[in-house]
Amino acid sequence: MTEVETLYEMLRKIQEPKGFFFNQDKPKVFELLEGLIVNKERYGYMCCPCRLSANDRENDKDIICPCVYREPDVREYGSCYCNLYVSKEWNEGTTAREYVPERRPLEKLRF
């Protein structure tokens, strides 16, 4: 298994019992997991690939995957910001698929 496939299986087992499912779009999920692996190599932690890292773990702790915004975003939109984790209903298509807006407060962004 590749590193991405290993991460996929590991996270799936941990996250599904919590009610968070991987997006059924597997290529997109693999793209995101690869992004997490690259960010771990770059910054030392798995910063969300769809957010700019400050290269500062303390500053970025809210956007280390799974981010603190995942739960309210999945509850409200059926998906987290980057569409990695979604609800069962989102995958089934029984909930509307809106583009998830950024919930992270602007003041947390450092660069």
Partner: protein, 83 residues
């Protein structure tokens, strides 16, 4: 006159990559800045450019002529490109 098209992106963000693929497939000329790969000393200047366009610092931020689109909104992008 051809519109100037510019994308501020993150190199590993799928929304950004979808944007880049759409623009490539459309055949328009465009510039991309992968902000996570910009040298540290230049990041502030790039982020200031984004700030003048939108208050949000989200990726992708897409400039098509005078129109600014935040996020991969395919229909909106196609409309702005007049595809």
């Amino acid at each position: 006159m051809e519109k100037i098209v510019r994308v501020y992106a993150l190199s590993k963000c799928p929304h950004c990559n979808c944007t880049k693929r759409l623009l490539l497939e459309s055949g328009v000329q465009f510039e991309v800045t992968d902000v996570d790969k910009v040298p540290k000393e230049s990041v502030t200047a790039v982020m200031e450019e984004i700030k003048t366009l939108t208050e949000r610092y989200c990726f992708p931020t897409i400039v098509i002529g005078t129109k600014v689109i935040v996020g991969y909104h395919e229909e909106e992008i196609r409309e702005a490109l007049e595809l």
